[in-house]
């Protein structure tokens, strides 16, 4: 991906950060181009927030070989001097300032004349549909509105990179969905590089140009949202991206990107091989999404099984199929023609299943 961005806005190379004996970041490198929406995805403790703090300068890393923002070497430079701003998880709005004063603060620090700063701040507030509340006190705002103020405050100084630390975490679901769309729109309008931290795969897939999945202070996998969604390269990535079924077995054949894997119980099934260097005979797993599995006729490729349980969930029906390789979860959409079919054998399209080598974990 790096060669795509002739002039990356953000370049981080080989960063290591330790909190005492704990290694929070272990030789991580990433970059983001101008106007790119990069998401760092990971669970708590994966190092994603540390990564953000290293970029913003709120944390000085133990070691880093290169850290550039818009071509400027910022390694060791204090946060205040870097051309990037952060939207904090708890918003961190200044409670003693009005909405517009909060937004204008970064401009005031840059010695912009007060009148111009306030005008610019109001324009930024208009961009997030909050100009009517410019003179309110922060306490009078709802969570979603505070979120917008924090956003306006961070973008008003026109940073090269905007860092967002789980900004939608505290909002309810409906608002979160609206804000996702708004953020994407804003990012496109400003043509600004966004680095977005989240633990939600759904947010990552919806908004990003590129996703970096982190785990235990390392990058597990990175790529376009579709790559991560459809082609997870490890068990962890598959699990994190919501694959309900991961079955273990042994790779028996690989040919032109398609792998065949022998599962426990002897069934041989096929899927797309995502680790091309895997050798036949080695341990491998196949990952399947519940909604991509369907009942098939007995002569088709798949695995025999019997229906064990069936739970109606409104929009869809969840079923558990007991197979020789273990229970498999299957989901069929309500109203689908196959909904009430009896199930003796399940199958899937080769492109809907991924096979990866079991590299230890």
């Amino acid at each position: 991906m790096e060669e795509m961005n002739a002039e990356p806005m953000l370049e981080v190379h080989d960063v290591v950060h330790k909190y005492g004996p704990v290694t929070a970041l272990s030789h991580v490198s990433l970059s983001a181009g101008k106007g790119e929406f990069l998401t760092i995805l990971g669970s708590s403790g994966s190092g994603k927030t540390t990564m953000l703090r290293v970029i913003s300068g709120l944390e000085i890393p133990t070691s880093v070989s290169r850290l550039r923002i818009d071509g400027v070497n910022v390694a060791g430079m204090p946060a205040a001097k870097r051309r990037c701003t952060t939207v904090f998880q708890n918003y961190a709005l200044f409670p003693h300032m009005s909405v517009v004063e909060n937004v204008a603060y970064g401009l005031k620090i840059r010695k912009v004349p007060t009148a111009d700063a306030l005008k610019e701040a109001r324009r930024a507030l208009a961009m997030v549909q909050l100009e009517a509340k410019a003179d309110r006190n922060i306490r009078q705002l709802s969570g979603g509105e505070r979120q917008r103020v924090a956003l306006a405050r961070a973008v008003v100084t026109k940073p090269a990179v905007l860092l967002l630390d789980e900004p939608l975490g505290a909002l309810d679901e409906r608002l979160r969905e609206d804000m996702q769309l708004e953020l994407m729109e804003l990012q496109r309008k400003l043509d600004m590089t966004f680095v977005y931290i989240t633990h939600s795969q759904e947010e990552a897939l919806t908004m990003s140009d590129r996703v970096v999945l982190m785990r235990d202070g390392r990058i597990e996998q990175s790529g376009e949202p579709l790559d991560l969604f459809d082609r997870p390269a490890t068990r962890f990535a598959a699990d994190f991206m919501g694959y309900e079924n991961i079955l273990d077995g042994r790779l028996v054949r690989c040919e032109g990107g398609v792998g065949e894997i022998e599962l426990a119980g002897g069934a041989v099934v096929r899927g797309t091989l995502v680790t091309p260097d895997a050798l036949p005979g080695s341990a491998a797993s196949i990952a399947l999404r519940a909604e991509r599995i369907s009942a098939v006729a007995s002569e088709e490729c798949g695995i025999d099984g019997t229906l064990k349980s069936k739970v109606y969930r409104g929009k869809y029906t969840d079923m558990v199929i007991e197979t020789a390789a273990g229970p498999v979860r299957m989901r069929s959409w309500h109203g689908a023609p196959t909904e009430n079919e009896s199930v003796n054998r399940i199958g899937w399209k080769v492109t809907d299943a991924v096979i990866f080598a079991d590299g230890g974990v």
Binding site: S56, F88, A92, L93, F94, H96, I109, R153
Partner: protein, 280 residues
């Protein structure tokens, strides 16, 4: 009661019921009012006596301002007043500053509990013991002649815990992420302090200063040990009252003036600390 009832008719549990009688509500109300009377009546009485012609009779009446005139004609109370005000101002300022420095450090400590307990303990050390201890300390360790500065040291030790407790109200509530937000937006450490931290802590710092002033201004017990021949306002008042001299009536006037001046100061401190603080 229906005969079908299998439960024996409940016998009232008198022990429990007594504590829930409605009478307690009115007892509480009247007791409270009586106590408020006990607190405020003497103060009001004092003010009334200070404008009475013959205050030593103990009964207000035949009102006149002659004792106030006598007070302003006399200069005997000037030096104690100046001493008290100057010491009070120094203590207010110094305890506000030191309480702020210590109070800002406390939230960053891993286990501040024990330290805080040690800071609060002096509030319960008998004034007499503290006075005697400071008396020895000021003379033999600090080498101070008893007087203005030894009083100031005693008052500082007395006022600082209060000032610290007040400052802690604001520093413990202060959200450290605001400092990061300020830095992130480009502010230098000094700008972050000036624009963000100080304005948010300010109500607590000012209240701590006001409290420090009042604690010092009202202090008697420690002052008695530490004063040498210097007189502070309350000590002078007390000496005059005990001496049963003709001066006594003007003490009533002086005490009334001080009362009228300090109550709003105290009210202001609390307003700053709680009403203003909840707005931010």
């Amino acid at each position: 009661m229906s005969d079908l009832s299998v439960l024996s008719s409940p016998t009232p549990d008198t022990k429990l019921e007594i504590s829930f009688r409605p009478i307690w509500k009115s007892v509480g109300k009247w007791l409270g009012l009586a106590m408020l009377g006990l607190i405020y009546f003497p103060l009001l009485w004092l003010v009334l006596l200070s404008i009475s012609r013959d205050p030593l009779s103990g009964i207000p009446g035949a009102f006149s301002l002659e004792h106030y005139r006598a007070l302003f004609a006399s200069d005997a109370w000037h030096m104690p007043m100046v001493a008290s005000v100057v010491i009070g101002l120094i203590i207010g300022l110094v305890s506000a500053v030191t309480a702020t420095i210590i109070g800002r450090a406390v939230p960053k400590m891993r286990r501040p509990g024990r330290l805080l307990a040690m800071f609060v303990l002096p509030l319960f050390v008998p004034g007499m013991s503290m006075g005697a201890a400071l008396f020895i300390f000021a003379r033999s360790v600090l080498g101070l002649d008893l007087g203005f500065w030894s009083i100031a040291v005693g008052h500082y030790v007395w006022a600082l815990p209060y000032a610290l407790l007040i400052v802690l109200v604001v520093t413990l509530r202060f959200d450290q992420s605001l400092i990061e937000a300020g830095r992130d937006l480009g502010a230098s450490d000094w700008q972050v302090f000036r624009d963000i931290e100080f304005p948010i802590l300010m109500p607590g710092i000012v209240s701590a200063g006001l409290f420090g002033f009042l604690m010092s201004f009202n202090e008697v017990m420690r002052t008695i040990f530490l004063r040498g021949t210097t007189e502070t306002m309350p000590v002078w008042n007390w000496v005059q009252a005990a001496a049963q001299q003709s001066q006594v009536p003007i003490i009533f006037s002086l005490s009334s003036i001080i009362l009228v001046l300090t109550l709003p100061l105290l009210g202001g401190a609390f307003w700053l600390l709680f009403a203003r603080l909840n707005k931010t």
